[in-house]
Homo-oligomer: 267 residues x 2
Amino acid sequence: MTRAELVQLIKSRKSYLCVGLDTDITKIPEHLKDKPDGVLEFNKAIIDATRDLCVSYKINTAFYEAQGVAGWQTMQQTVEYIGNEHFKIADAKRGDIGNTSDQYAKAFFSALPFDSVTVAPYMGSDSVQPFLKYDGKWAIVLGLTSNKGAADFELQPCGEGLLYEKVLKTVSQWGSDENIMFVVGATQADSFTAIRQIIPGHFLLVPGVGAQGGSLKDISEKAMNNDCGLLVNVSRDIIFASGGADFAEAARTKALGYQQEMAKYLG
Amino acid sequence: MTRAELVQLIKSRKSYLCVGLDTDITKIPEHLKDKPDGVLEFNKAIIDATRDLCVSYKINTAFYEAQGVAGWQTMQQTVEYIGNEHFKIADAKRGDIGNTSDQYAKAFFSALPFDSVTVAPYMGSDSVQPFLKYDGKWAIVLGLTSNKGAADFELQPCGEGLLYEKVLKTVSQWGSDENIMFVVGATQADSFTAIRQIIPGHFLLVPGVGAQGGSLKDISEKAMNNDCGLLVNVSRDIIFASGGADFAEAARTKALGYQQEMAKYLG
């Protein structure tokens, strides 16, 4: 999916919501737990209930890998079920030397139909560049993450600024705002103004709203750009809004709340 | 596998060789390419040919993920085939917020029988700690990698030293040399002395010998400690030593060369 197509989706749906399919098999409703395709059935119901309210789905690969071969199968069936009217993110935090990142790009962009993969920047340019060779595909590189551990390295002084600032400055030179996005956690709202000075044009994938406590209002006021420039991810707060048989309906109600708030900020 | 067990293996086999199963399906011999289980058959032959010469196998997950569901199945069958007489590394470069790293740890330590996973440090403590909760299992954290991109961030000034030095100092505090190892590329031999000053006791997983040009002699002279403290990985130079039907025999010859050289350095 190109940037122009993504921006068009955001305008038409009045939403920059990404629904995170971090589908923990221990948290799905009881009536689905024992089914062989319980996670897939859960995901399909969530997707059907939220399609018109969001522009993106983010599949957290860890929750699928934890189920072994069957989990990878469920991931494939889920991403195929989403179709082509949403920006599909493999939240996989990959990154390795060039010949290995080539294989990861192949895994998510050829063997699976994702539009983007989250990538860890630590190993530098050759670990990121293989993800930039596919037309209409994106690397979403970790900038400043939402977790407590961000303080250990990302927020440490490095050269003239902080490490994450160096990452934003350096990585943004390896591609363009047509094929690179950055992860910036919603819990880091104090940093959004500084981040927009470094990368005014790039899309940001913003996790951390909902269960992690980030504010949609703060992010939207501080980090939106002329093309919106935001994909705000909500996982647990939507998909596990109810633990009962009404889980899909409850997810839709939550997602609708986020979408309506986003419509206001989009103006 | 505990540290004591690993050290015992190294002593008994007179080897600290790790064979890297970066099995690129396009590079296996012609007679295996069209078989549905060609990669598994290749891996089994390599393992059988090298079992007595190495102490570890490293499965590079990217090459399996690139083959989708079938690839994950091959990875599982391969790691199960290795058995319990080798230290089994999932070279997966994972790392995410705590609740997600929990799932990655489950994927490789429960759903699959690996002894260790390579982990990227960028996201900090909560991204690494879930891998340290399993008895006899290890996190192998990226320190200074073998690729050109190491210059972009790892070798940049950060606080009082370089970023990778800060990573070694910080991460080594999160566990012990009984559950944390570090990746240090063989191409970074100039840095081995400095690294051993920071982490004298930890095991290092050293890729980059062979196709990437690192010297086994240099590493061994500069970085070996009283418990050996090294796992030197060789992938392409062993597994693709011959592209013909004699690939396993050729792999054994190469592995034997490395093992004999290692026996000398072990003294």
